[in-house]
Symmetry: C2
Subunit: 496 residues, 2 copies
């Protein structure tokens, strides 16, 4: 196993460089003063260039070839498979395309920040068309090098969600398209018959911060191996032993920061549970973004928003914010589970959110596969928003197709992972309930240990040993399906 | 200038890797939870290894040779000189010596932490003797490769204070040895005749932090290009545009944090004033540790502790800590300038501090030059402490030769830069007074702009264009001398 060993050593170096990039990026978003921006961008570009050099070093190709005939343990074989996947993704693009694409994305994203606020689709379109042309070129190059992708969009999906496909996602999303819009209607109508609870108020930032830390501890976060900080957009990053999550506090709304904290704690818990002995190798990394998002959404939507957990937490909420003492747990819970179709994805509730994603998925996969053009997007957006959520975005690009950073920054193939994550979360939580009949009792007393132990066994400890479909299959008995999510929505919102 | 350009490009890459190491180390000391230690150490070792690879790449030797005959500007020539100096320092040691020395230092330092608290010199000696043998070997290898060093100790000095020498330091320190001990005696005797003011009390940590930031702003620190944080030992680090300093707050003593903040602000101001256009090249770096320390000590001992500045600051101290209102500025100033011979260097006042350094310098240079052995240290320490400060350390290793981290960690040649810095600070402040007759008026109103402008012109903006002696010469009219420091002490403490 001389060649395998050489590959492992090279990927260990890559992992250490990646450690540097991880914490320099964290610092950039959390600590760095404005004056540091230029130097930091240069240092990050240098590291990323060095990593690319190491990953595409000529000797690696021969090592991969030779390592196939070496005698390897099953874990080593799985690691070899993952190393090879990363390597192929790195070598399949010509350097000039990588550079042109990166430049086009920077420019398009940069202009978009202004154009979005000015509702300027016509100004946005030319640079975006140029970016789309280059991303299509990238997708075709990746498709040619891929052993599994069948469409150009498939080849981009492999970057974020290896194991998912255009065809499979369309099939799963078809169920959502069919069943969710009428459900949204029924739920909204039903909620209108109840008095609406508002939690708007004035919430001390220190108390919010303390509550976030308290809830993280309840969820099993180890502050000897991680931190909670503040950033404009909440995120989660880090390495084994040092997991960093962020949130942001608003004086008028304690839920915003708290839910973000819980969401990011889900991400961090997954990372902390990955196989320690493989932490410097591809095998020891998170499986895919659709599994990653399933962990954050399981913590946020399934665990935290379960009536049992809110019931447990209510005395602590009352203590943190005495003004809330006029609300019992039912009243708090009903305020936290309000459903309302609206324009902006990131503010959507769990019931309407998937329709925002179905819309984006349909548009971006047709765009990358060459079935529609960039100029067609606003009309398609309006048409689909009317159909799925009953809202018109005609002429309103700011709250329509210009709202997200993903497309202007060149990230196509990422959107579906949000909703695949939500479906996986519901499906996993269903399996957990099946395996742990005492779950509700545990949550009523704030005991999250059995739930985390289940996730550790069935998801976290596997790293990249199994593909996403196989991982879901062994954990729940079937691959990703919309059925459990739809069942969850019906139960939670319609008592069905 | 093809070869010079290649060298510049390589040093730019090195500078970007060094950026990564800078902020990862900052994070390690300021932010990182304990669980991150192992991964961080590995990542830092990887980066340092990569930097060593880039700096010792075979092609560089030819480039240096060929670049000599290229047509270069004076700045480029100076940069070439500095690049070559760094390169020679990197290539002159055999790899197995570097590794053996690094291992011996880690082990010795690690054991020392326990041995110091247990006053265990006998336990310390064997590993320390092994380390000293390797450091001597290092010094001889560096001496063989050096164009200027005349003694093995000279060759180590070049790492921290290029331009200083064993012979020159001995000459300058001779004046201190002769004049300082009787001065210390006179000042202590004199201070005993005045009532002693104690500032011990209870100081709100939030108010201390606010005061630190306020004083940093007065000293010209730009928070858009830097941060103040907390760490166990105060330090200063960063890059152009992002200067990070730390301090630590104690409830019973506001001066400790404040003086550390001022000291580190001096370091950061020097870094911020280095030539911007050379920030990624050796020419754009700080000249030496003896110049660096002159800037921090100029800010701390000359500027901050000047009666004019304390007079200006007193109302702000009263506002921050109302309990101080019983003290007028004279009373505060006299508490801040108490002189008292004591055992511990880091707690020493500015008058006794140099004798701690003279003692260490004499011992470490004789040790490296082979004139004494490690086992001789405790007796020499005791003898010199008695002679210089009138204190016996017989049998008390903890408060004697085991007190500092420098020797157990293998850092020989660093100690003299503290006192060379103090001498340079006094000499520069004397020149500033000469050039700015309005200086006291400015300090009385908290205006530090003219002083900083002077330092910018005479020190900061030069980077490594001039050697340390030339830099001091052009700024003050002569090279480093003990005269101005001794004059400063006589004026401040004896009104002479």
């Amino acid at each position: 196993m001389k060649n395998y060993a050489r590959l492992e050593k090279q990927f260990q170096r890559l992992s250490r460089l990646s450690h540097a990039e991880t914490f320099l990026s964290w610092d950039q978003q959390v600590m760095m003063p404005p004056g540091g921006a230029e130097g930091r961008a240069e240092a990050l570009a240098e590291l990323s260039g060095l990593r690319h050099e190491l990953l595409t070093a000529a000797m690696l190709g021969d090592c991969f070839e030779a390592a196939r005939s070496e005698s390897l343990s099953p874990d080593q074989q799985a690691n070899l498979h993952e190393m090879r996947r990363h390597w192929k993704q790195a070598i399949c693009l010509p350097a000039d395309l990588v550079e042109a694409r990166s430049l086009a994305a920077s420019r398009c994203e940069n202009d978009w920040r202004r154009q979005r606020s000015e509702n300027d689709w016509d100004g946005f379109l030319p640079r975006f068309e140029h970016l789309v042309a280059l991303v299509r070129e990238e997708a075709h190059a990746r498709l040619a090098a891929s052993e599994e992708a069948k469409t150009p969009y498939d080849a981009l999906l492999e970057l974020y969600a290896p194991g998912e496909s255009n065809a499979f996602i369309s099939e799963v999303f078809a169920d959502l398209k069919q069943q969710l819009p009428p459900l949204i209607q029924t739920i909204s109508d039903d909620q209108k018959t109840h008095p609406q609870v508002s939690l708007e108020g004035s919430y001390d930032l220190g108390a919010q911060q303390q509550l976030s830390r308290q809830v993280m501890r309840i969820l099993g976060f180890d502050f000897n191996a991680g931190r909670l900080d503040v950033s404009t957009h909440p995120f989660s990053t880090g390495v084994r032993g040092d997991h960093r999550i962020t949130t942001r506090y608003r004086g008028s709304d304690f839920l915003d920061a708290l839910m973000a904290t819980v969401h990011e704690t889900g991400h961090a818990s997954y990372e902390a549970g990955l196989p320690a002995e493989w932490s410097h190798q591809p095998l020891g990394q998170a499986r895919s973004m659709s599994i990653h998002e399933s962990q954050s959404l399981l913590f946020e939507k399934q665990l935290f928003l379960s009536p049992s957990f809110i019931q447990y937490l209510t005395p602590q909420l009352h203590e943190a914010f005495p003004a809330l003492q006029t609300h019992d747990w039912r009243s708090l819970w009903s305020a936290m589970t309000r459903v309302q179709p609206d324009y902006i994805r990131v503010e959507a509730d769990e019931v309407t959110y998937p329709m925002h994603i179905v819309l984006r998925y349909e548009i971006e996969s047709d765009l990358i596969n060459g079935k529609i053009e960039a100029r067609d997007i606003p009309d398609l957006w309006n048409e689909k928003m009317l159909g799925y959520l009953g809202l018109s975005t005609e002429g309103d690009f700011r709250n329509g197709c210009l709202q997200d950073i993903h497309w202007p920054s060149g990230a196509f193939g990422y959107f579906p992972t949000y909703t695949l994550g939500a479906l996986n979360a519901a499906q996993l939580f269903h399996a957990i309930r099946r395996d742990l009949p005492e779950l509700d009792e545990c949550l009523l007393s704030g005991d999250t240990v059995p739930l985390r132990r289940w996730l550790q066994t069935h998801i976290w400890s596997h790293g990249c040993r199994l593909s996403t479909p196989d991982l879901m299959q062994q954990a729940t008995g079937e691959t990703t399906s919309a059925a459990y999510f739809l069942q969850h929505i019906r139960r939670r919102y319609l008592n069905q």
